[in-house]
């Protein structure tokens, strides 16, 4: 069938993140090399790879915390970081596109001067211009979803790591982003607290959230992903559905990695 303009214009609404020919260097060392990746709406993509392979950098390029030298990234059809004329976006325009992504960091990065509720409402009020009333009602729903509503008035320094991370997830969800980015969300946690955070992320995938997750939790990756991507020295060397990836990987490198990370 010949391509029609209609079909083409439909495409952006079905792709949450589209990364094309992305390259990024730090001090002349190429950390990402010609990365191409498409994340469909509602899909969960996990990124695996050994330390230093560029996983965090890739994630941080998606919301432009790092600026790549080459390539393009579109969030729900809108290019981030670069205007139609090819110039760097103004800080305002960049912030607006960035708000379509939500990020969860390894080290939680909650704002310690605000209590749990206000950590969640701060951006909706001051970025989206929501009323305090509306923002708090939504925040309480989200805190309920991550099992933290009983700590709404607590300050971050009184929470456990797992609790902090669940609040951080609620904070990112509060902006109703097109895609959630997780950078090793459980790596800083004591082993007994990992489960509660993974359970929350799983529940989000069941609700149809689009997510890109960097993780070292293999069984979690296998059960939650629609697509698994393996990065090696800044290159995507394997990309498959989880069954194929974990049982029938085509590259020797991935089979070795899986062997070591059993």
């Amino acid at each position: 069938m010949p391509e029609t303009g209609l079909e083409f214009s439909k495409e952006p609404t079905e792709v949450a993140v589209s990364i094309r020919n992305l390259s990024k260097s730090f001090n002349d060392v190429e950390v990402l090399r010609d990365v191409n990746l498409e994340v469909k709406k509602g899909d969960v993509v996990t990124i695996l790879g050994s330390s230093g392979s560029g996983k965090s950098t890739l994630l941080r390029c998606i919301n432009w915390l790092e600026q790549p030298e080459r390539g393009s990234i579109h969030i729900a059809g809108e290019r981030i970081g670069v205007t139609d004329e090819g110039r760097a976006m103004s800080v305002k325009a960049l912030a607006r596109v960035r708000a379509k992504t939500g990020m969860v960091f390894q080290s939680f990065n909650l704002w310690p001067h605000l209590n749990v509720l206000h950590n969640v409402t701060e951006a909706p009020i001051h970025v989206l211009g929501k009323s305090r009333h509306e923002a708090e009602a939504h925040a309480r729903e989200l805190l309920d979803k991550v099992g933290m509503s009983h700590k709404a008035d607590a300050y971050p320094n009184t929470l456990s790591g797992g609790q902090k991370q669940r609040v951080a997830i609620a904070r990112a969800l509060a902006m109703q982003p097109e895609v959630m980015l997780f950078d090793e969300p459980t790596s800083a946690l004591d082993p007994e607290l990992v489960g509660e955070v993974l359970a929350v992320i799983k529940s989000l995938s069941a609700e149809g959230y689009t997510m890109v997750i960097v993780t070292h939790e293999m069984s979690f990756a296998r059960s939650v992903s629609d697509q698994v991507v393996f990065l090696e020295k800044g290159l995507i060397i394997e990309q498959a559905d989880p069954e194929t990836f974990f049982t029938n990987a085509s590259t020797e490198r991935v089979r070795k990695f899986l062997e070591r990370n059993k």
Binding site: V91, A95, R98, K100, G102, W111, H126, M175
Partner: protein, 213 residues
């Protein structure tokens, strides 16, 4: 000491308080503005600010007060004594405060800033809503320290004839020939003022523990 001596002492204390208070209020705000300009690293302006800050920090207060009061007329400015005193104290304290604010800005957690940007906050919103409230808490001990230095250095403004808390003791003993009582009272009053500041500092330090995660 009679009633009029007490009155004079309280008036002197009031002079010290309001001149210091105005200088502190301007100095804290101006220090923040200078710190932000320095962080923006605007060429030439940055060098000028560095020069001002090092000069203001190196010049003795008495010298600065005298210089401002005596040089104003040559620039065609009619400066009241109290204005000259405020200007000198402000120029001095602003320089120190600018450094306190600047280090609070530079030491601010990059992770927290990134978390703010990631939610779609512009740098301006990030500064106002995330950084500044915490910078105030972390800077307050240093700022309050600088406030007590300013109050303890404020007798320098007596050199241009302002009758503040220390100078007034001189005036009283010139009449009573008893220098000890008024100076003792002045000491107590200084201690009360500084004591209030130290007390405020304790409270802010307690609030700061929340930020130490």
């Amino acid at each position: 000491m009679n009633a009029s001596a007490w009155n004079m002492l309280l008036e002197g204390a009031w002079t010290t308080l309001w001149i210091s208070g105005v200088s502190i209020a301007i100095g804290v705000t101006a220090g923040l503005i200078l710190a932000l300009i320095r962080i923006a690293r605007i060429p030439v302006i940055d060098q000028l600010l560095v020069l001002y800050i090092s000069l203001a920090r190196a010049t003795p207060l008495v010298t600065l007060v005298l210089f401002i009061f005596l040089s104003a007329p040559t620039f065609g400015i009619q400066l009241e004594r109290s204005m000259a005193g405020i200007l000198a104290l402000t120029l001095n304290t602003t320089a120190f405060n600018a450094e306190i604010w600047r280090s609070a800005f530079r030491n601010f957690s990059r992770e927290q800033r990134e978390a703010a940007m990631a939610t779609g906050m512009t740098p301006g919103i990030t500064f106002r809503r995330i950084m500044l409230p915490q910078m105030i808490i972390t800077s307050l001990p240093g700022l309050i320290n600088e406030m007590s230095f300013l109050i303890k250095g404020s007798p320098a403004i007596a050199v241009i004839g302002i009758v503040e808390l220390t100078r007034v003791t001189n005036r009283i003993s010139a009449v009573t020939y008893e220098p000890l009582p008024p100076i003792l009272v002045a000491c107590v009053l200084y201690m009360a003022i500084i004591g209030c500041l130290v007390w405020a500092q304790r409270i802010t330090e307690r609030r700061a523990t929340r930020l130490a995660m």
